[in-house]
Subunit: 347 residues, 2 copies
């Protein structure tokens, strides 16, 4: 149903709801929960590269596109059933985002995170007044803990909830507006549990079915070598969780993402591609971004590292590209940030 | 000259330069340095309060309005003289902002900060590739260290530089646009060295002289009791730097601001007001903001604490107000953030 409503450019400055309400008929105007989620800047880099600054959304991460839609849509249903509390699991960014929108909506919130979640993210989650639970084990163990907890409250795990992904369609709508009615040749995204990839692809497919674009941009899903289940499935390789799971990209920790089949199928539909980057490539890309003035968390730099890797292997023939920068550098672990310090030489 | 060009509403979505180029005739289009500084959201709170989210600017602080104008204007002059390095002193936010715009412009940068500057801010400054110098002593000692350093590079201290303040006029222009062509009854600002206050007042006076508004909004300059030189001068009281200078508001540390006389004169011109808040009032206001979903640094909450204090002393008769939220909560010291943790009860 959702993607069958015709797409019409919004163009009006304002909240996501004001600009794209037609595309979200299931959100009731009087229950819209807004924290100032407006269009994020698209800034030109060099040689046809554009950076989409989703780290400037209200909580410092692209997740706000999802939380905005999910929480706005759920509030009347929660209230109707007398529920005033939600539970969510996250590596950190989605938890902070859901906690912020819950706070704005005036409901309580409990967030489950991996034991090693970044300090700035857990401080932020608690800042919004949410209860924080640190869970030992894998990312899926964190999900299980949230789902099976005896604590009251509705489980709204963002990875599973279709309305969270659905909010991320707005990224595709903004991109075509900001590019003047067309899409770039290629789009590079960091991919973990797939909410960004699947949400963005839904938006792209909507634009295609509405006739706004005739073919999709070339979508490049980027992962670290350490956490690369999609890449392995895509290449037909077997994948086992490596012993060391400590990639610098601490927001990309889904070794066994529940929507993996759907990610592969969706990426095939648009004839996309998947690349992985090593930790050294990641650090170099991260440092290069920050030295250009784009202070993002390491996980965001995975997409830029992916572009650099493809450029090196394919010459400069990638054309006009958009790199989605997903999370703020202010959310990075202090020990990771040491890697960015001035060392007396320019990058 | 600057404030004599007539003000015309911009209304176009885009960078500050695209929207307000007419008001900045001294910036040359080909030297504009942009990091995606676009209109910040104005979000409605309760009972006539609006929050202006300047903490969502590119580096997480309102300082980007100033750095954008100052660096864009200076670049051709620096290049013309063969200079490729600047020096700046700051309690943290302006340093991060100047470092970011310098990085974007491709020039080197050296930032002097107080020894106790917040970790996230110094990490961010170094992230942009700037050299960091921690200076013991007062805020003015930090300025002196930057000015007298033997290090090469042009000193562009933002407190002294008129073009930095001049960029902050954009805050007034955005406010009138977002309020639909009028100004709110009152505007609450945190004040330290005065760049925000003086820059905003210059914009307000421009709007008045252009006939866009007939009278200025009621401007309330907010300080902590611990650091309150403007309040004291305003009330005709003598002020001595207190022994303990550790307000939670670590961005408001100017005990002896060089532009104090000008601040008093400008605030008198608009028949403004000055209030101080205690640390307890500050913590309560900060927590209340974060529990509403506005995760800001403590210094930003000083303005909201000022509003709450005036409401308590004057009943609810303040009318429609804008609180300028200046810096991201992700820039707060981890030890300060502990004050926000969930304690089992709602605020």
């Amino acid at each position: 149903m959702l993607i069958e409503s015709s797409y019409e450019g919004g163009g009006r400055r304002g909240s996501l709801y004001k600009r794209f309400s037609k595309e979200y008929p299931y959100i009731t105007p009087e229950y819209v929960v807004s924290l100032g989620e407006t269009e994020t800047p698209l800034v030109e880099g060099e040689r046809g590269v554009h950076f989409k600054l989703d780290y400037l959304l209200p909580t410092g991460s692209f997740k706000d596109r999802g939380s905005w839609a999910m929480i706005s849509a759920l509030i009347p249903h929660l209230f109707g059933r007398g529920l005033r509390k939600i539970k969510e699991d996250s590596s950190g960014n989605a938890g902070a985002s859901v906690a912020a929108y819950a706070a704005r909506a005036g409901i309580e919130c409990s967030i489950y995170v991996p034991a090693g979640a970044a300090g700035p993210k857990t401080d932020q989650i608690r800042g919004y007044g949410a209860e924080l639970h640190r869970i030992e084990g894998s990312r899926n163990d964190v999900t299980k803990a949230a789902q099976s907890s005896a604590e009251d409250g509705a489980y709204v795990g963002h990875i599973w909830h279709p309305l969270f992904r659905d909010g991320i369609r707005t990224l595709a709508y903004e991109m075509i507006e900001q590019m003047g009615g067309r899409m770039p040749e290629s789009v590079f995204l960091p991919v973990s549990a797939g909410t960004l990839l699947l949400g963005f692809l839904a938006g792209v497919q909507h634009l295609r079915k509405s006739g706004a674009i005739s073919s999709p941009p070339h979508i490049v899903a980027c992962q670290t070598e350490i956490v690369s289940p999609l890449f392995h499935r895509w290449m037909g390789l077997s994948y086992t969780t490596p012993a060391s799971t400590d990639s610098l990209a601490d927001a990309l920790v889904s070794h066994d993402p529940p929507l993996l089949d759907r990610m592969v199928a969706s990426l095939k539909e648009v004839d996309g591609e998947c690349v992985t980057v090593g930790e050294g490539e990641l650090v170099r890309a991260w440092k290069e971004l920050s030295r250009k003035g784009f202070f993002v968390e390491p996980s965001s730099a995975v997409a830029y590292a992916g572009l650099k890797k493809k450029r090196e292997s394919q010459g400069w023939g990638i054309g006009e590209s958009v790199i989605v920068l997903t999370g703020s550098g202010l959310k990075a672990k202090p020990e990771a940030l040491r890697l960015l310090q001035h060392d007396g030489k320019r990058v």
